[in-house]
Amino acid sequence: MPGSELVYRHTLATRVLHWVNALCVFLVLLSGFQIFNAHPRLYWGQYGANSDRAVLAIEEQGSSDGRPLGVVRIGTHALHTTGFLGVSKSGDGEPVERAFPSWLTIPSYQDLATGRRWHFFFAWLLVFNSAVYFVVGLFRRHIQHDLWLTRAQWTPSHILRDFWDHLRLCFPRGDAARQYNSLQKLTYLAILFILAPTILATGLAMSPSIDAGFPWLPALLGGRQSARTLHFICAMAVVLFITVHLAMVILAGPLNEVRSMITGRYALPSSKTE
């Protein structure tokens, strides 16, 4: 982009915290799929095991011709997902019963103990990284200045216009691109103040020892099995965020976006339409 203005967009702290966060989220998510695979059924309430009614199950279902079928059951609905969920190819190419496929789990083979080691190590790192983010972000007023919506952005008409612009893939240019738009801000605020605390709370509520010390926690979430289900739903929200986030990076110009998160410098898209 010749002639476009280069602005300093991300501080060193933001950039380092972003990449540590990205690494942790990636590893915690995929080791979480490994843990889910050990019992790929979700329930609502205090208890739930194989003989109890599942709200979601990813499992194998035999078919009439003897070929294994993979299904995702949500309530009474069943979705056929052979090859991806329920039944997928193992390392040697044979279809095996497996909730999440081997290319989505850490380790790639079935190993709950190792999956838990990855999950808890990087969950701790994620907690420390997030704590530093909150302290630095609030202290330096990054969250208040860059993420909190301006008075003009806090109106339904403004948010709706940004939404409509995004649907048409019309992204802010020129001076308007100096700050985050209302949808970006709302997304980041929702992750910081709703999704992240819910992931932590639902994760802790699955611990029998934490539940003894803080019995109100599982009670608030509707029971230990409800907490597990909510933890899974949060993980799916993270998958949705990563998908949209990466799609936006690609659509908005991947080189410029990725550079801004590495060097901090961001080229403002020219305000003239090309």
């Binding site: 850490i106 103990a113 029998p208 020892s209 010390g213 991947p254």
Partner: protein, 256 residues
Amino acid sequence: MTRRILTRRQMLMSSTTALSGLLLGGCDRLSNAPSFRRILDSAEALSYRGQRLLVGRNTLAREFEQSDLSPVFRSNGTSAPDTDEYNALLADNFRQWRLKIDGLVLRPQVLSLNELRLMPSRTQITRHDCVEGWSAIGQWTGVPLGALLNLAGMQPAARYVVFYCADILETGADPYYESIDLIDAYHPQTILAFDLNGKPLPVANGAPLRLRVERQLGYKHAKYVMRIAVVQSLEPIHGGKGGFWEDRGYEWYAGV
């Protein structure tokens, strides 16, 4: 123009797939590298200290009502320890079964099931959480482990209580065993249960006697307990990690 964008997108897609394959392959190799494994395992100490800090020694796990019981209490691991020794005990309805308490104790004990049933007991309705993710609520009746340890008397060097079981989970492997520290051993809800839901413990759930250590995951709740040993160190026992599953990579303190 369109072709260029497509190519770039394809390049991005294929490089993302290749990158993720590379990363996941790398994760498998890292999982099996002892030096990296030690780094991963270091989080266990942090989790243990965090839980001990946040949860008081004698804080009770929640106890539920009769109406909260799981309709079926699932069994896991061994559903019947099919050894000659165990089958003979079962055929006789455990009349010949004896619980041995030894190790670093002052007065080693040998107790029959009847003697255990005559001791003061505790009944609790608690939630059992398996490391796999499922939970079941059951009512347990048994003798507090603390009372048995007091009966035997502890030597000053005592640090852990080890439970030796009758079941062999993997052919050729060591029999099942577990261990807990003295904090959990003397916790009021830590009992050796002989009844589940008001009936003698079924074979699938650990007959005649199983451990309940309510603030930890299911694999700590040793079934088919034959012998209790008080020890100073876990290292000389079997794999040295303090339990059958611990020797296979699971955390010794299973509070999470």
